[in-house]
Every structure is written in structure tokens, then in C-alpha cells.
């Protein structure tokens, strides 16, 4: 057993980090390095797998095993790694283009299987590495190099996509909210099964204005809904607004003093509630952050190896016996 406690610094590789100045990726990198240190596993038990995109440079900067692969395929590569080596802590770093466009199919099937991958999707709502094309999360009307008249694509809401797939752990954080997002990552680290964490993060050169309402730590509390299990859905700088579900439709209720009974109390084990919450969009409703869904269901690798155990281990059998099978014959 490893006795020396590792720190975030131990997880920093000595390579120069090559993101643009002001990029939120730096903050996320620090938070994940801290999360890994907190997990208590030795260095060599971690693997970070990424696809292509700015976020996907991530593995180079984490001092563990890492694989910077090809566009969209990180969940598939990570699945092969995790299924054959279930003891590893396997992290998938992806973005809105990588994970939801070219790699959408792998993402959806990884989640469907509930394989033990820690998926972190950096959502900057733009293709940044390729210099500014619309992505599957680009908001309608946004002008980009490929949408000079404004985007007409209906965007994905990544967290809702994951909730819709019955992902057993779904959360959303913001790069600039270190406390909130670190807490989410810590919970994700301890979850078994697929975890899907969406982190909102602007891209300085190409989507700089994207999350402006979230810039100011005090003002953003008016538009953020911090979701917490067992707590009423209350928000606002003065904690005077709440969400009530009337006929399953969310409505903002203002109040003073005690939280009224009709304000919903959040239940992260409730898939339907997670679906409603993850669908909230600005400006009609506050933007939810926090853990939307956390539930326990056997992971793919648990089911796989339980099945192997159930049929009986034949590893000790002689190779020749195995090759002969039941219907060999002998010629003398």
C-alpha cells in the first residue's frame, strides 16, 4: 500500500501547458489534479484518455498514464482499457465537439453500459482547436465561421443528454466556480459506474461572451440554481426565489422568510426530476449546477466479471484440453 499522501502537485507533469491565456482549462486541470490526489490511489493506477480538441491535450499535463487519442474515440479506447483492467481509475476528458458530435455514438453507449469511466466534458459551445466553428452545443443564432448568419441548429444540453441515457452520475459545474466544481469532481471520483460531468467554460478567442452572466461571483447567484440532494430548489443572491413544479412545469416562485412548501426539494436519485432540472435554460429559468443525478446500479465491469465468476473459472485448465474441446478424436 502507498502510504505517502499525494498532492495535486504530484499529478502535474513537467510539460509546459499550452492553452491560451485566460482559458478555463487551467482551472479544471488544477481541480482534477487535486481530485486525483484526494482519491488515494497510487499514481500508476490512473489513466487519462482524451480525444481531439483543446480539452483533449489534458493527459499530457497529468502525471499518470495518459492517452491523447483521436477525435471522438476516447470513450471507446477507455472502455477497452477499463474492461480489461477494471482496477484502474480511468478518466475521459472530452469536449462538446469531440464527445457529442464525432464521438456521440461512443459517448452514448459508454453511458448506456454504465462502465466505470469518469467522463469530464468541457463545454465551451464552440470548436476552438479548429478555430471557431459551430458545435452541437452552440446556442441558436450564434455567429461563427460556419454560421455567419447565426446558427440554426438546435443545440444539445449535455447534462440532459446524459440524464436521458439514464447515466448513474450526472453533474454540471463551471470552470470559475472552484468550490462548487471541486465538490462535484470529488463525488464523481467516488462513484462507481459512468460519471458524466459537464463543465461550462468559455473560450477566450472564440466564445468569449458565452458565459458572461456567470462572471461575477455575486451577480451569478441570481442566475445559477445550485442543486443539492435533499435541499429545496432555492436561488438568488438573497435566497428569495425557488422552483415549484406545477403540473410538472417548473415555475419561479418569489418568497420572503421561510421556504414555502411548494418549493421542490431536490432528489438526485429521481431520474424524472433530473430530467426536468437538466432541461432548464436561461433566461427563462436559472441555470442549474451541481449533482443532478446520482444513483447506484452495477457497473458494466462488475456485471462482466460477476458473470465470469458465475460460470466458473477455467483459467487453470491445460491449453491442450481447451483446444481439444469436447469432440476431439485421436489418430494413432
Amino acid at each position: 500500500m502507498e502510504n505517502t499522501k499525494l498532492t495535486a502537485k504530484d499529478f502535474s507533469s513537467n510539460l509546459p501547458v499550452k492553452w491560451c491565456p485566460g482559458c478555463g482549462d487551467f482551472a479544471i486541470l488544477n481541480m482534477i489534479q487535486k481530485t486525483l490526489a484526494g482519491m488515494g490511489l497510487p499514481h500508476e493506477k490512473y489513466a487519462v484518455v482524451s480525444g481531439i480538441g483543446c480539452s483533449s491535450r489534458f493527459p499530457y499535463y497529468v502525471n499518470t498514464y495518459g492517452f491523447h487519442s483521436i477525435h471522438g474515440r476516447a470513450p471507446a479506447i477507455a472502455t477497452g482499457l477499463k474492461l480489461s483492467n477494471p482496477d484502474l481509475s480511468v478518466w475521459v476528458i472530452t469536449g462538446d465537439g469531440d464527445g457529442l458530435s464525432i464521438g456521440g455514438n461512443h459517448m452514448l453507449h459508454a453511458i448506456r453500459r454504465n462502465i466505470g469511466l469518469k467522463i469530464v466534458l468541457f463545454n465551451n459551445r464552440i470548436y476552438a482547436l479548429t478555430k471557431g466553428q459551430a458545435s452541437p452545443t452552440t446556442q441558436p443564432g450564434t455567429r461563427t465561421k460556419t454560421t455567419p448568419l447565426g446558427s440554426i441548429d438546435y443545440p444539445f444540453i449535455p447534462a440532459r443528454f446524459a440524464v436521458g441515457l439514464d447515466c448513474t452520475f450526472v453533474a454540471r459545474g463551471i470552470d470559475t466556480d472552484i468550490a462548487g466544481t471541486s465538490a462535484i469532481l470529488e463525488r464523481a471520483a467516488g462513484h462507481n459506474g459512468t460519471t458524466f460531468v459537464e463543465i461550462l467554460q468559455k473560450c477566450v478567442p472564440f466564445s468569449d461572451k458565452e458565459f458572461d452572466p456567470l462572471k461575477d461571483p455575486a451577480a451569478r447567484e441570481d442566475v445559477l440554481l445550485r442543486v443539492a440532494h435533499g435541499k429545496p430548489l432555492v436561488f438568488g443572491r438573497d435566497r428569495n426565489k425557488g422552483i415549484a413544479f406545477r403540473n410538472f412545469r417548473p415555475e419561479i416562485v418569489e418568497f420572503s422568510g421561510k421556504v414555502p412548501d411548494e418549493i421542490a426539494v431536490y432528489d438526485e436519485t429521481n431520474a424524472e426530476m433530473a430530467y426536468l432540472i437538466s432541461g432548464f435554460t436561461q433566461p427563462e429559468l436559472p441555470l442549474p449546477v451541481g449533482v443532478f443525478r446520482a444513483t447506484r446500479k452495477p457497473s458494466f465491469e462488475e456485471l462482466y466479471y460477476d458473470q465470469v465468476k458465475a460460470v466458473g473459472d477455467t483459467r487453470g485448465h491445460e491449453l491442450e484440453t481447451l483446444l481439444a474441446g469436447p469432440d476431439a478424436w485421436e489418430i494413432k
Binding site: 471507446a76 480489461s84 484502474l88
Partner: protein
Amino acid sequence: MNKARKNRNVNISELSSATVRFAGDSGDGIQLVGSQFANATAVAGNDLSTLPDYPAEIRAPAGTLAGVSGFQISFGDDSVMTPGNKPNVLLVMNPAALAVNLKNLEKGSVVIANSDAFSPAALEKAGYASNPLEDGSLDNYRVIGVPANTMTENALKDSGLPKAQALKCKNFYMLGIMFWMYGLPLGPTREWIKTKFKKSADVAAANAKVLEAGYDYAETTEIFDARFQTKKSPVAPGKYRNLTGNEAAAYALITAAKLLKKKLFYGSYPITPASEILHTLAKHRANDVVVFQAEDEISAMCSTIGAAFGGELAATGTSGPGLSLKVEALGLAVIAELPMVVIDVQRGGPSTGLPTKTEQSDLLQAVYGRHGECPLVVLAASSPADCFTTTLEAARIAVKYMTPVIVLSNSYLSNGSEPFRIPKLSELPKFQVSPLPSPENFQPFMRDPETLARPWAWPGLKGYEHRIGGLEKAEGTGAISYDPENHERMTNLRAEKVARVVKEIPPTKIFGVPEGELLVVGWGSTYGAITSAVTEARRAGFSVSSIHIRNIFPLPPDLGAVMRRFRKVLVPEENSGQLRMLLRSEFMREPLGLNKMQGQPLNSEEVLTKIKEVLRGN
């Protein structure tokens, strides 16, 4: 069930080899009786080779020409190398099966038909105006009509089975007849029935009874005046089992993992005709075999790469269209220098093409079909049992040189079967992986001076933490590098590493004499047809030899010299000349081609005819 059999004077002819074709509707259980017949011939000590030939549609409309399923087997004494060219005995379950197969039948051959199936409606579906069993159109053949429906129903009238279910046993009735004709033992099939239908004892009993009834019918009925006996094959002593090419490939992967003392990871997406590898391995998951049915071909390839990164013996299998989807990720496997085996069970292409038919048309895709300078190793299997040897060799090369290796099989090899001698552990090749240096001296892209392989260090190994990826890396350290000279050096190193695989290739074996008029150069599944044709041509006095290439890339180093010793070179292929193109570019040789793109294997007659044509033209 050792009841005494009546003795009757029948004419027993001894054959050196025989070819039988079973044909019927795809719902008639043709593949099943075919493979049971094949097992029985093997148990009786014959050498054999089989060719299933089934329609792409799972259930084409019953009784139609499109729905005909076939299973052909050659067996006998010699080293039987192909499933034969034209059958001596054709067994048909319905008129459509007769209509489809008659053109491949030599005059004088035997046709055994289920006469009950030749109803006016069935005849019409098959395009017959009158019943060929009765109208004299088959006078050049020996036609034996068997009322199999009636006889099956009679045999089962006390079984309690509903009529429709009882009738389903009729294929075993015909199988019983065939067993009698060739003096084959019923035992293995009886045992098989017991296991197969162990959950429904009444069905098991019915099938066993009908099998016996068919055998007895043939023995007692005067219409069967001929019985054949094949000479036993002089095969090497040992334990044998009958394996299809796909099964052989699957067992080779398990064997390779055992020799490496690693898990086997097999990630694959269902595709005809490669799925049987996935099915076979799925049965062995308790044996350190991790089988992953991926969401698509790309994921199959990528999960394989992930498992290889994880330090396991990783493999995937597919067919042509799937290989096309895998090639982007194969580029990653090449630049990341990870070991893995990719089995391509070729089928007729392009696109969906002829999904259940055979071809050899992915050679150039396997050798060249990637972006960038992207060399990897390509091997080709030559027979169902050779799928074992070739796949095992692929795994050995993959881990020794840290490279992906593509194995080319095809539909013909994958579905065909032959006896496979189970090797002893001591006979298997040794696997060699470059030893890891100490953690202080480790660099992910340092190289073994002999093989140029980089060290294989996987997550979980303490002290070897490192990052790899698809970006070009600096020689040695593996850090991202855009340095122009470094990229050229790495490109050359990757090519040189694959080129060094020629050290693994044994001297080319020449079948025939080492020099002469004509050298037939084959690869892959045409081995049997070519060797049979060359044997026959040599017997007839022609100056012809043949070689068969397993190492498609890199090619055997002595190949140029071998070809130079012959005046002409002929390359028979089930494509329009892909190996020929490779030979031309590597050796500046202009070989002749024999090319067949019909979804059917080249047969020895076709090769023989071409050999004669080439040599008579001298």
C-alpha cells in the same frame, strides 16, 4: 443400439476421395446436416474440406431459387485440399435446390432427392414446367427419389410430436441415408443430438429415430445399389478436431494470450462472415478472455487499442466494410506503436457487395489503405486450420515488434472446415516481448536495437507512467514534436521496424521443382485449388511449380530470387490482380493473372486449365 443389420449384396466401391453437396431451402437445416456429415467423415479417419454456401437473406421466401442453401464437402485419403470442384453426389431437399445446383454436376453423378418436396407448387417456384424426377430430363444422372416427408412422418407417428414438428426431422432422414452410402458411423451424430436437444428429450429421440430410419431405409431398399467407401487418410498421429477458419482464428488468439500469460481482449462488432470469431470467444470468457461487443466497428478497433495500451493481448475481427471503418484508428495504433491483431474475413465487395460470398479483394486495403505513411504487417491464412497458425504468428509478431498485424482470411476459409491437429504446448512458437528497462532508464519511445520495438509499459506498472497519443513524438522521449527532422526520422523508423519483420519469414517453400517454365504464386484461400492443380499438371508432365505466400507485407525476402528462376509467373487470385500489383511494384516483374470475381472460390480445374493454356502457348 447395436441391432444387427441385414446383409445385402451391394456394390461397394472404394474411392480415393468423394465430393458431396447437400442443398435445400435455407430452412431445411442443410448447414446442420452438412456439418454432421463432415464430423462423421473426420471421425472415420478421412481428410476433409468443406464449403458452406448460404444465401445472404436469413429466410428468403421458402422454396425459391434465392433461398437455396448449400454445403459441400470433399473427403478421402489424399490430402484433400479443397471442397472439390464438382460433386459426385448431390442431395436436394426441394426442386429449387436441384435447379440451382444441377449445372455444377458431372453427367453420371448421383442425385438423391426428397421426392415428396417436388409438388406442382414447389416445381413452379423453382421454374420447372414438369417434374424433372419423372420427365426424363435427368436421364444422364443416377436419380434416387426418397419420399422423405412420408417416411419421416411414418417413423414418428407414435412419437406424439405434432406433424409439423415431426416433419422438421426429415433432414436427419436424408443424413441417415448418406451415412449408409458412405459407411459412416452414426455414433457422433447420435451423441450430438443428445447434447443439442438435451432440454427436449422428445425432439432428441425423434431426430435420433429418424436418422436411424434413414440409414435402415438405405440398407434395405433395393434402389440403393451403390455404396462407397473412402480410403482412410494417412494423417499424422495425434488428437484432432474439426475446426472452421473462424474457430481456428479464435483458438489461436486464446493460445497466444496463454503463451504470453496475459488476458485476451477481443472487441468486435457483428459482421458477416467474421461474427463466428466473436461467438466462439464469447464462450470462453471464464478463461481470461474479455469479449466486448462494441457499438460499432470504430469502437471495436478503439477498444482494442485501449486494451493493448492496458497491456493485454488485444485483437479485433471484421470484414471489408468494417476494416474501412477501422483504418483511422489503425493509424493511431501504428503511431502509438501498440501490438494488436486485426482479422479481416474478406467477402465480396465493395460496400455490402456479396456479404456471404468469398473474395480476396481487401489485400491492397490491408497493405496500403491508411492515411499518412502507415506501414503495418499483413499476413494471409491459406486454409481453415492454417487460420490457427497464421493468427498465432500474427500475435507473435505484433508483440515482438509492437505493431498492429492484419490477418487476411475470407468467407471461404472462415466457414469451411478441416481437421485440425491439436498442437502440444512444446510445438508452439515462443513469444518474445522486449524486456522493460528499469523505471529510471525508461523512455516510451526508446527502441530495442534488434527489432526497433518500443517498450510495452502499461497502466498499473509503477514508475513507468507516461503519455502517448496520435501526435508525432520525439524519438526516445515520446514528447510531442513538430521538429521536421524528427518526423522524417520517426517515419523511417516505423517503416524500418515493419521491414525488419522479414527476419521472421522462413525461406519460401517451393511445391515442385526449384526452377522451370512456370511458377504459380498464390496467397490465402486459393492454396488448395492451386496445389491440386499443380499436382495434376506435374503428373501430366508440365514444368510447373507453386509457392504460397503467407507474409503479404513485408513480402518474403527471397521472393524475387525464387520468381527469377521461372520463365513465367502466374498469380491466381479472387480479385482483379491485387497481389500481382504488389509483386510488380516490389520486384518489377510482370506476372500473368488468373482472376475470378464471382463470389465463389477459384477451383483447381480453373487453375489447371490456365496452367495448360500458359504452358501450351510457349
